[in-house]
Symmetry: C2
Subunit: 145 residues, 2 copies
DNA sequence: GTTCCTGCAAATAATTTGCATACCT
DNA sequence: AGGTATGCAAATTATTTGCAGGAAC
């Protein structure tokens, strides 16, 4: 497992430091997206002095390389999520616990057609995020009533 | 036209001030989304002293009432856009000139099915934005080559 | 040895807030 | 009159940057 992260970093020509490995470990184990500050809290359990800039810089680096993704959140703060699935897909985000799950369907062919045939433009990319309550939070809601 | 804005503000129980009318006029005439600061620049042509907080407060108020929409942009700054179409739809945003055009197709029924049947969750909302080059910017690209 | 990484302190910049005054109704 | 809107100055806060020392290669 750790060996994987080692190889990923090598492949990206990034130096293999204990903090980078830890960041990838924590991110990969997490099912919810995280803010840099939350990640730092978790890292502090292993490294007493870890600076917030280090966390920001590493997350950004990993996101640039496509190892993790940057979440666009309505509160306009930075959040990141380690994405195991490599094929094109989208995310369902639980508005209660922030758990992220994959959505495989993507109706973008139709939309691309609308843009290129209808608007005579050229579609380059798209961003889709779906919000709601995950299975667990639905159960909790029912139980607490 | 100005009468429309007057009635909209009345309907929202907001006071009708010259600046509010001007903000709505400028927003409605604009085909591209705008930052509070850009809007202020335009407003300065009519009002020599107009504070940025006023612009922020008014845009937020109008967005809360659904008169304009807040754009979620990857740069995490605030942008707003006056939306003429009231039915559910999405936006195609030109990455070159920021012109916004409507997209009517929305494959969300399928995604809702995937969330509710597959993930056993409950879908509440979704956010879709499509990026690319609009017709005009495509032409400019060809011409300038 | 050289280059990249990290921590600290300080800078940045968009957005928000407090408050006194001015304006709508 | 009474409440809301506005301008100004100041506060807030997430994020970024500079730089000196430390770690990886």
């Amino acid at each position: 497992m750790e060996h994987d992260f080692y190889r990923i970093l090598k492949g990206l020509k990034l130096k293999v430091t204990p903090k980078r490995i830890a960041i990838m470990e924590i991110m990969a184990a997490e099912k919810t997206y995280m803010s840099p500050d939350e990640l730092r809290s978790k890292l502090k359990q292993r490294f007493k002095n870890i600076g917030l800039p280090t966390v920001y810089r590493n997350l950004e680096e990993l996101a640039k390389e496509g190892v993790i993704i940057k979440i666009i959140h309505p509160d306009r703060k930075l959040y990141y999520f380690y994405c195991h699935r490599k094929e094109h897909h989208h995310h369902f985000v639980c508005v209660s616990c922030r758990r992220v799950e994959d959505i495989t369907f993507c109706g973008m062919e139709e939309i691309k057609k609308e843009v290129e045939d209808g608007l005579k433009g050229h579609m380059v990319s798209h961003m889709l995020q779906v919000y709601g309550f995950c299975k667990n939070c639905l159960i909790k809601q029912v139980v607490s009533q």
